[in-house]
Subunit: 87 residues, 2 copies
DNA sequence: CTTTATTTGTCCGTATGTATG
DNA sequence: ACATACATACGGACAAATAAA
């Protein structure tokens, strides 16, 4: 459960937590940011979470594929070159 | 087509109708409660119908098998012995 | 074994209504 | 009047499992 400060808007606090997780590396480039899971985790409504997601999307931290999900934007796409080939 | 009262939520009214049909015997133990068919019959969205189904499932009136369908919970499982349908 | 159809599970996008500050 | 926050309700789209041909 997440503690929310009454002074700051919830959707701002949620966005702040998500932003930190992205910077922290908790959410990798392939991590799915599901609205349903996140709204359950934070205990907020969908509209609230979507507002947070919109902020992160506006910042370029995540990108959303309609009917699929939202994912973390890779910081360096070129880094994929030197990586594997097993895929 | 089903008439919905504006005062009560649709998913509650749908659940009420389905509950009555189960008690009525319209839906037997082997009857498949298809989401697609029911949403077409009641003229509601899938999310609405799924909410009604969740309520009935929570009440124990129906059970849902993933990727298969939802069925009416037999009141008396032993009754299946002496009872057999033309199927 | 492959294909097709059916069904549930889950995802996002959108709009509306209600309550609160 | 306005923004926040929640719940309801609609729609479309994709994935996975099951059953049947």
């Amino acid at each position: 459960m997440v503690e929310f400060e009454p002074d700051r808007f919830r959707w701002v606090q949620v966005a702040d937590i998500l932003r930190q997780r992205i910077a922290d590396g908790t959410y990798g480039p392939k991590h799915l940011l599901s609205e349903v899971l996140l709204m359950q985790e934070f205990g907020v409504a969908r509209g609230t979470l979507r507002k947070s997601m919109k902020l992160l999307r506006d910042e370029g931290l995540i990108y959303t594929v309609p009917n699929l999900g939202s994912f973390v934007t890779p910081r360096d796409q070129a880094a994929e070159q030197g990586d594997d080939s097993t895929e």
